[in-house]
Structure formats: C-alpha cells, structure tokens
Amino acid sequence: MKKLTLHIKGMTCKSCEILIKDELEEHKGVQNIVVSQPEGKVILEFDSTIISEESIKEIIKKEGFVV
C-alpha cells in the first residue's frame, strides 16, 4: 500500500469532505481516507496494482475540485 497526500482547492464545507470521501470509498484499492477541508488535504492509502494515483486524482477532479 502506498500513502498519498493530495492538496485540494475548492473545498468550502464539511459536505465537500464527505463527498470526496464517499466517492473514493466506492473504488477498490483505496483505504484509510482522511479528508480535511480546513487544511485542504486528502490523505489516503492505495494499492497501486488496483488503482493508480492518476485515477484517484481524476475521481476528485470529477467532483469539481482542483488537485
């Protein structure tokens, strides 16, 4: 498992945290997801044999955030 920290722009409230977390949890290979709107960060662990870092970024970008 690889650890990944992403800096996210565009999170304005708790719902943004929940939305990002819910979307990531729907994908296999991603776990231990921590989203912090005040810090503008997402920290997670992922299995690079199942999902790539780029795919994770795309999932977040699809919801309208800047990674």
């Binding site: 409230c13 929940i18 939305l19 919801e63």
Partner: protein, 301 residues
C-alpha cells in the same frame, strides 16, 4: 403530495450532490428541487411522510424542518466562521487589514513621540490615552466602512453615529466642546450620508441625522464627565462603541450577505485603505495636539 422542507445549511455544490444522491435512492420521491435554503418535494405521502423526509435530511447531517429556520445563532455563526474560511474570505481579509493598520498607526505614534512629541510638556499625560483612543477609533471605523463598501445592498447608516460619538468624544476632551462637536458632527454627517445612499433620500437623511446626533453627543459626554472620572469612563465607552461597530458588521453579513449571490463588489485594496486611515488619523491627531482649544479641556486631569 408537495412538501417544502427548509434546509438552511446548503452551502455549496457538494451539499447539493450529497442530498441529490440520497434522494435518488428513495423511490417514493418522484421529484425534488433544491433551492438556496429549501427543497421542494413531490412524493408519495402514503409511503413517505414529510417527517420521514426531514429525518432523511437530518441523517445527512443537515438541519431540516417543515417551518423556516431562524437565523444562525452567534455560536453557530462563529463555528461557521472557523469551519468555512472561503465563505468569510472577505471578512478575514478585512480583519487582517485592520490589525495591520492598527500596528502601523501605533508604531508611527511611538516613533513620533520619541522623535518630537515628547518635547511637548506633559504630552504623555495629556494626550497619551487620547491618541490611543483615536487610533482605535479610526481603525475600527475604517474596517466598518470598508466592510460596508465591499457589498451592494441596503446597509445601515448607523456607522455615521458611531463616527460622531467616538471622534467627537475624543476631540471634545482634548480641544473642547466646539472643536469636538464641529469635527464629530462633520465627520458623522458625511459618513452617515454616504452609507445611507443605498437607501435613497430617506437613507441619506437618516444617516445625516445619526451623524448629527452622534457628533454632538460625543463631546457632550466628555464635557459632562470632565470632573467625574472621564478617564475611567472612556475605556468602557470605547469598548461599547467598538462592540456596536463590530455588531453592525455582523448584522451586515447576516442581513445582507448570507444566502445572497453576486453582491460582493471589488473591495478597496489594502494600500488605499491604509492611506485613507493614515491621513484621517494624522489630521485628527494634529488637530488634537496643535489645534485650537477652549479653556475647558481634559489637560491636567
């Protein structure tokens, strides 16, 4: 059945997406429209009551009710301020501007004291506190006016009264009733009229009246308390005036800004804000120290 549920915490697109996802899983909801602070449902009332809908929304961690909510409490507003920095970006910027200007003015004041003001006999005793009150007044009044100026909308003209009360009281104490009332009234009326322009001629008139009253009451307070602990009274007087100014800014956000789109204007930049505040403070300080004085002033008390 058509049901309107009030949901005051819909802040952004993410809130809309989360709620939309939740509602789409409920077959009894035929249609729904999410608005600024309410959601209108068409639903099968036999299998899903309005109370069930409210419960579903609450489970998603939103406040919900079939009656309109009152505005956020002070505690809720402070929590919102801490948790949603983007929503209050302009206010946060204004606070930083005001703090910076206060520091700049204080440093300039200290510099002026050690370079030439200390040569004036009894300077610290006669003017020390009053210069501090002046710097506090221009900083907080500057912030309040900057905040008002940053939004389109119907806002209060009561900052005119505060301008008169604060500046009039200070100059009334240091220069006498005539100068205090003249300056307090002039500045109060101008500020009141300017802030009242949002609301037509009546707004302007009310602003001018507020400035007139404040500008004359301020020095009157100083005059009447010369021999009755004015120096003890002033910290409390200033504190209450500052609380009122901050309260007016708070109300500006509650009444004018919250839930309204497109009313933010291009705000005055820091350099302009600092320059104007500096000019006004220096001019009033110069008037205080070197301007005409009546025989009945605070010096020596």
């Amino acid at each position: 059945m058509k049901t309107t549920v009030f949901v005051p915490d819909i802040e952004c697109d993410s809130c809309v997406k989360i709620l939309t996802k939740k509602f789409k899983t409920i077959s009894a909801i035929k249609q729904f429209t999410i608005k600024e602070d309410q959601i209108i449902f068409e639903h099968d009332e036999k299998s899903l009551s309005p109370e069930d809908i409210v419960k579903t929304i609450k489970e998603a961690d939103f406040r919900a009710a079939t009656n309109p909510f009152e505005r956020k409490s002070f505690k809720e507003r402070m929590r919102d301020f801490k948790e949603n920095p983007a929503k209050y970006a302009l206010e946060r910027r204004g606070i930083i501007y005001a703090l910076t200007i206060f520091i700049i003015l204080s440093v300039l004041g200290i510099f002026a004291y050690f370079t030439f003001l200390h040569t004036i006999p009894n300077f610290a005793k006669d003017y020390g506190w009053w210069l501090l009150y002046l710097i506090l007044s221009t900083t907080f009044l500057g912030f309040a006016l900057w905040h008002i100026q940053s939004y389109k909308g119907k806002v209060t003209c009561m900052v005119g009264m505060q301008s008169g009360m604060m500046l009039g009281a200070i100059l009334g104490a240091t220069n006498g009733f005539f100068i205090g009332a003249f300056v307090g009234m002039l500045i109060g009326v101008l500020v009141g009229a300017w802030t009242g322009t949002c609301c037509g001629i009546m707004g302007v008139m009310e602003g001018m009246m507020a400035g007139l009253m404040g500008g004359t009451m301020g020095p009157m307070i100083s005059l009447m308390m010369f021999f009755d602990h004015l120096l003890w009274f002033m910290p409390l007087y200033m504190l209450i005036n500052i609380i009122i100014l901050l309260g007016l800014s708070y109300l500006l956000f509650e009444e004018v800004v919250e839930h309204k789109q497109g009313i933010q204007k291009k705000h005055i930049d820091f350099v302009t804000f600092a320059f104007i505040t500096l000019i006004v403070t220096v001019a009033l300080a110069a008037l205080m120290i070197y301007g005409p004085k009546s025989s009945f002033i605070i010096g020596g008390i």
